[in-house]
Every structure is written in C-alpha cells, then in structure tokens.
C-alpha cells in the first residue's frame, strides 16, 4: 500500500458492500469513528480503508438497506498452529512501534471456562420442584458483615444482637466498577438508573462521582483506588458502600493511565485534576504494603464515614488469592471482591490481560473454602467479578460460594458494545468508552437504562426458574451449596479445587 509499511496490508477485517443496495445515504461514513469508510464524490461511491476497520460493526448495524457486512479478511497467512495470524501481527506491531501492545475488554484466549463444565441439579419425584410463576421466590441478597451468633432477650423472642450496615440486593448482581473517563457519563447514568429502579447497586470506578449522579446516592458504591481520584469526604458519604480497589482482573499488578487528551472539563472536575493532565493510578497503593496497612485504610474510611458504610476490598484473582482474601477479612473488610482472569478493562497491555491471573470459578471455590476453614466466612461477603455471561453463570457462581456477582462487560453489551477491543483508543463507535461528544451522544441513557433493567429482570426470571427446578425457593439456600453442582470433563484435581463431584456420582 502506498506510503504505508508493507505489513499494514495484512489487515484482519474487511468491509463488504453490496453496491446495488447502497443508496449513498452516507450513514456508514458518519458512523465510522476509525476512518475506515469515506465517500468519493467523483465516483459517487462509498469506499473503505480496510486496514483501519476494527470490526465494531457500527456501519453494519446502521446501514438502512443492509448493504454492509464486515467480514474476516479471507487472505490469511499460511496455516500454522504456532504462528497464528494474531502472533504474526503482534510481532509486526511491536517491530514497527517498539511499544507494548495495548488492548481492552477481557481475556479472549480459550482459557477453560469452568462454568461450562458445571451442571445444575433438578428435582424429580421425591423432592418436588417449585413453579416460580405460582409460588414466591426470593433472590434478596445482603452484602456485609454478618454476626457470629444471635443473642436473644430473656423473652426468647426479641433479638439483642445488632448487625452492621448491609447492602440489600433484589438480585445477586451488581454493576461493576467502570470509571468516568474510561466510559462516559451516559452509561454511568444508565447504570445508576437501572440499579435504582431494580434494587441493586452500581460502582463509580476510580474516577470519582460526577455531580449529576449524586442523586443516586442510595445505589452507588464509590471506589477508592491507588490514584485517589475524586476522593473527599462528600464523595465517601455520597454512597451506599465504599470499595478499595487493589487490583483488577484484566490487569493484576498494574495501575491505570488515562491520557491527558481525554481529560476534559467534566472528567477533570470529577477526578479533581487539571484539564489535560494525565490521570495516573500507580500500580500499588503507596500507603499499603501489608494487611496491617490495608486495615488502616479500611478503618480510616470507616471512621471518616462514621461506620455507616460497608467497606469492600477488590483484588484480582491471583495464584494465592485464598490467603490474600483471608488477610482482607482479618483486616476488617465487609466484603471481598475477586476479579477473575476474564475480567474486562478500558485499557491494558495485552500480555497482562491474556496471561495474568486465574479463572474466577476456581478463585471463588478456593476463597470460599479457605474463609470457611478459618471461620471467617460470616464476617465477609464474597463478590465475584470477571467474565459472567448469563444468569446461569451467576447461579453457578453463587452455588460455588459467591454472595453476589459484578457485571461490567454485560452492561456494556446491553449498551450496544460488540467487543471489538478498541476501548483504549477512546474512539468507541458505539459511544460507550469514549468522551468525544460526537460519539458519546450515541448512547442515550434513557434507552440503555431500560435495556439494563430488562436484562436484570430477565436474569432474575432465569435464576428463579433454575432455582424452582432445584426445589429451592430462596437464593440463600443455594449459596455455597456445591452439592447441587456436578462437573463434566474435569480432572480429579480440578474437581477437588471446585469442591464438586463429577457427573454420575
């Protein structure tokens, strides 16, 4: 290709256009935010720079006459199990740029998904199933520290024990942390509205809480991360709970970097940094080098908020996650959040996204086991995050021992995302991970809030049906109930870690 490096010609996707159906409305030209589509006036034709196409499918979705299909480039490299097109292209990118490869969303490698290897139980004959349409089913979940035992008044009826502040969820699903900056305000607004309407919570992420969203105080979890962006007393108080972010599943062990050019007026004000300055979250919290240090921060936050807010601690699922989670429980957290290897992000080095961390299924099982063994399970709630795709995944996670599940990618998908892995470019054609006003307006918070509400409603129905089939009428009864799970196609060691029996046993 003229004026380009030869390797640019090996692009992965192509835009096919049925020229008969194309009415030259130029919708695709306007929708493409990656400069892959343009109109040639002399030829009166819509043309493509295929090398720029990222397969976001925005043009395909918005072609009024269905004239466009984005396809895989049929021209491939010589078939080679080791030197896959991805491996070759990565070499090309690095030899041309001398830089690490940035990417986004979650791990896309075929790491075994244990949810797909777990099967649920159902009732037959001796233990009748329940029809959720006829009988009450409860998905209510409480997140927070539970007491060791109950003490009663001498009358034997009234309870003397008091319990700390709990988060009350109508479904064991919360919207996970996505910061203002990595996503735009429209999606945060939609999540906040859907959470409020349905009775669950959304998480601000590390980018502070915009003024416009302070009215959603009751359903907001505010995050305190290593950059401490937007953290002040008012921020901490405008919340239902506080989450300390230590790590993230998509990039365990590294911090974040929001480039200065993305820091506009709104983001700057919310993050409390100057306009145009880089927002850098350091890899470590510079005041946390031990469980004791973490305890200090947890209690500093509790003290600041008058012990009215539960404090969560979020970590990435790494090799010895169970021991770390126990440390967090000892440090006084009210909930441990574990983010698995498939967790998403707005920007991360590809090598970290694809190769660091462990699957969330194993982490839930290991952490739940360890907390039980140490007698700490009642002291902390366990929230799992990273790669949940459906209500069934949620239910399996709860059966493995999680109290609730964070969904981020699912919320993005409900907002239109097609997983093209370009969040880090800030040019999201669907208007999700961008703050460019031209693109951000593509996401109408009213529509997305409805979509998210529908999704939660559908998942609640799904979970109730599955519970009913198991003869259970409350999500509490399946929590950590691994006897209702069986596995298939797993090794003995994997079954042991998951604490489940193989199918047939």
């Amino acid at each position: 290709m003229l004026f380009k490096k030869p390797q640019v010609a090996f692009y992965p996707f192509m835009v096919l256009r049925d020229d008969y159906k194309c009415v030259r409305c130029k919708s695709c030209v306007d929708q493409c935010s990656f400069d892959a589509t343009y109109y040639d006036e002399d030829l009166n034709m819509i043309m493509n720079h295929h090398e720029n196409c990222v397969n976001c499918k925005r043009c395909e979705a918005f072609c009024p006459t269905d004239a466009i299909k984005v396809v895989k480039n049929p021209s491939t490299f010589h078939p080679d199990a080791n030197w896959t097109p991805e491996a070759i292209r990565d070499i090309h990118v690095q030899m041309l740029t001398g830089a690490i490869i940035l990417t986004s969303t979650g791990n896309d490698k075929p790491i075994r998904n244990y949810f797909d290897h777990l099967l649920l139980d159902a009732c037959q004959v001796t233990n009748p199933p329940i029809d959720p349409l006829r009988e009450p089913m409860e998905l209510k979940t409480f997140i927070g520290r539970k007491t060791d035992a109950l003490e009663f008044d001498p009358d034997g009826v009234s309870i003397k024990t008091t319990i700390g502040k709990q988060l009350e969820l109508e479904i064991p699903v919360l919207f996970s942390a996505m910061s203002y900056g990595s996503i735009n305000l429209n999606l945060q607004k939609a999540m906040a509205r859907a959470a409020k309407e349905f009775g669950t919570y959304w998480n601000t992420g590390e980018g502070g809480l915009h003024r416009d969203l302070r009215e959603y105080k009751e359903c907001t979890i505010v995050q305190v991360a290593s950059g401490r962006f937007g953290v002040d007393l008012e921020y901490l108080e405008t919340s239902a709970a506080i989450e300390i972010k230590i790590g993230q599943g998509a990039k365990p062990g590294i911090g974040g970097h929001l480039p200065g050019e993305k820091v506009n007026e709104g983001i700057a004000q919310t993050r409390m940094i100057p306009v145009g300055s880089d927002a850098i979250s350091p890899a470590p919290h510079h005041d946390i080098y031990s469980i004791e240090d973490l305890r200090q921060l947890i209690y500093a936050l509790k003290e600041a908020t008058n012990y009215e807010k539960p404090v969560f601690v979020k970590i990435a699922a790494v090799h010895n996650v169970a021991a770390i989670a126990c440390g967090i429980a000892h440090a006084g957290a009210d909930a441990v959040v574990i983010d698995g290897v498939r967790g998403g992000t707005g920007a991360t080095p590809k090598s970290l996204r694809d190769h660091v961390g462990i699957p969330i299924e194993l982490a839930i099982a290991a952490v739940d086991d360890r907390l039980r063994k140490e007698g700490l399970r009642n002291q902390v709630s366990l929230i799992a995050a990273g790669g949940f795709r459906s209500a069934v995944d949620v239910l399996k996670a709860v059966a493995l021992g999680a109290d609730a599940v964070y969904i981020g990618t699912v919320a993005k998908l409900a907002a239109g995302c097609t997983q093209c892995q370009q969040c880090h470019t800030g040019r999201c054609a669907w208007g999700i991970t961008t703050n460019d006003p031209r693109l951000a307006k593509r996401l109408n918070p009213d529509i997305v809030a409805e979509n998210l509400y529908n999704l939660l409603r559908a998942w609640a129905h799904d979970i109730k049906e599955l519970l009913g089939a198991m003869g259970i009428n409350a999500i509490e009864s399946i929590r950590g109930n691994r006897l209702r799970l069986r596995s298939w196609g797993l090794t003995e060691q994997e079954n042991k870690i998951l604490g489940v029996l193989p199918a047939g046993m």
Partner: protein, 146 residues
Amino acid sequence: MKVYPIEENCISCRYCEVACTMVHSASKDPVKAYKLEGLLPRATVEVKGAVSLSLMCRHCKHPFCFDSCISGAIQVGEDGKVYLDEERCVGCWNCVLVCPFGAAHPFISDNEKKRHSFKCDLCGDRGFPACVEACPNRALVYDFER
C-alpha cells in the same frame, strides 16, 4: 402537531432520511426509491462537529413559503399543517429560497418533465411520521406545539 428534533440525541445515522424516502416512494422499497424513482428525502440530517440534527418542515404559523408561493400550491390547513400540492406547484423555487430552515427542496425529474418543490407532509395518510418511527436514538418526537 409536528416533528421536533432533539439535538442531543441525534447520532446522524440518517435513518430518518431513508425512512422518509421509502414511505414516499411508489415501490415502498428504499433501494428502488433512491435508484429507480430518483426520490430524495424530505428530512435532511445536518452535521457540524458534535452537533447534528434532522431538519424538516417546521409547519410555521406564518409560513414564508405560503406568502411567496405564486401558484397557490402551498396552503395552511385548518389543522395548522402546511400543505404543498406537488401537482399544482410550477417549480418557481420561491419557497426553496425563502424557507429559513432549508426545509423545502427542489425536484426535477431525469427527463425534466416534472418540476416541483417538495417538503415534509408529516407522512399524510400514513398517520405517523416515518422518521420518528425509524429514529433509533429517540432524537425525533412527534408532538403538539411546544
């Protein structure tokens, strides 16, 4: 009643344009409407940077186009809508010139036998404007005078 564009929601996808062309065609097919019937949309999307909106006849209370019409093709109905009779129009383009919104457009057929201006008729017999129905981001509303 008329169609109101909501600028903050318009994503310049041009669904309004294509839907408009389609429902005003004889074939009711978007491809044929553009390619065989040579029709053009009555609603047009204006884009400048981050600002975009769909523009169509505002059905003004005191329309300049009505004042300037030399053939009597433009009439203000009792329902407050501005009607343009394409059969009666002689194609003087006065309305095209005076419309402050650029919402009246000239039409000349390929063989130059037909010549008239055209504009949004709020989808006449259809009952509900096609552009509003087609808009994927709720950037158009069909509403009473605001």
